[in-house]
Symmetry: C2
DNA sequence: GTCTATAATAAGATAGAC
DNA sequence: GTCTATCTTATTATAGAC
């Protein structure tokens, strides 16, 4: 082959891939601000100094762009807590929530898309369906490894898994609406305390309850 | 005044109000299926046998229609658990979740709009901001009445309130995606059990670790 | 109160030049 | 790889007849 497409190391990217990554980043921003349905290709294109037609050269349809965004998100929290395949301890989840507390942008993309995704023919529907299911399974598995058939708080791993997912999602929504009032990380730790049955989460005599 | 607009009893509705209610119902359906941004006035109009222009006679803008939908939703779960003003016991919330398990349509409107509402200039943003805040306050107040400064599980009312809200929201999303896998009512009861500190075989001896 | 007609934008996608 | 130009379709909202 005289071409140059087989000579790249695995960590390297072509210029085209870099451009795509740039577009994906812009798309995440715009989706965070407007949701998928509220996002126009022109708005995304503008952020990277392209025209709408220029953008479509890299992603042939709007939906293709969304798919790329979803894949990027997987990579992202795969890097943070390793979703796919590996184990998820309660501590790892706490860390992830804490980490997210500094990344409102990313949290917002996820929250908006998760909400939109429950509608009939939303292109992210299958993604979220699978993601929730996988997350519950991995979480339940990890909890079983960590605690056996019952967590100290009294729940089984399979009972705890959907609650963990729910608490993370739900706290994100409230936090995005009212970051001054809702302390996502602290709330999550309180919930973990509940699961672990450690009575009151070893907190200091802080503000009034 | 010779008109007929001051002679109605309080439970009665004019024909115009009935029409509006009909439109609101249709709007909820369409929003549940497509989100607010994905909803066209024409689609709503069609469901009640009107043209788009005909609909705009009753609600002058799309946003006005959304506001009406939001108000209707408040009435709705005001009727179920009485949000505004009254007290919300854990049992009442459990009942509400159970009740919702038979109303996927309504749950879906709420879930989609809550998700969309975190975006920058979404018309439902102030509504949800206020609603979450109010809900946390009422819940915290009720828990304090019911349990005092600490719930049996160890949390303070103010710690429990955002978690309750989060669990309800988060379970709804998962349930909408996978009703066969996620038992919303049962999961919620498990969470209430955690708050009440029941079901823990090991009676955690107060603090310690 | 509801319609037809239309204005004014805006969107996703394609064709083809450079 | 990116642009201009264009097609096609949708959308909110208004004007005015019935």
């Amino acid at each position: 082959m005289a071409g140059h497409s087989g000579t790249r190391g695995l960590g390297r990217s072509t210029r085209s891939e870099e451009r795509k990554a740039e577009i994906i980043r812009a798309a995440m921003e715009v989706i965070a601000e407007n949701g998928y349905r509220g996002t126009s290709l022109a708005a995304v294109a503008e952020r990277v100094g392209l025209t709408q037609a220029g953008l479509l050269h890299h992603f042939p349809t709007k939906e293709a762009l969304l798919v790329a965004v979803l894949e990027a998100r997987d990579q992202w929290d795969g890097a943070t807590v390793m979703l796919s395949g590996t184990s998820i301890s309660l501590d790892a989840l706490s860390y992830m929530v804490e980490y997210n507390s500094d990344r409102a942008g990313i949290v917002q993309v996820f929250t908006v898309l998760a909400g939109e995704s429950v509608t009939e023919d939303h292109p992210a529907r299958p993604y979220f369906h699978g993601r929730y299911r996988l997350f519950r399974e991995l979480t339940a598995g990890s909890l079983r490894e960590e605690f056996g058939d019952r967590l100290p708080g009294g729940l089984t791993p399979r009972e705890a898994a959907p609650l963990l997912t729910a608490v993370m999602d739900g706290l994100q929504t409230q936090w995005l609406h009212d970051p001054a009032e809702v302390d996502m990380a602290k709330s999550f730790r309180a919930f973990v305390g509940l699961l672990k049955g450690t009575g009151a989460p070893e907190t200091a005599p802080e503000s009034g309850n």
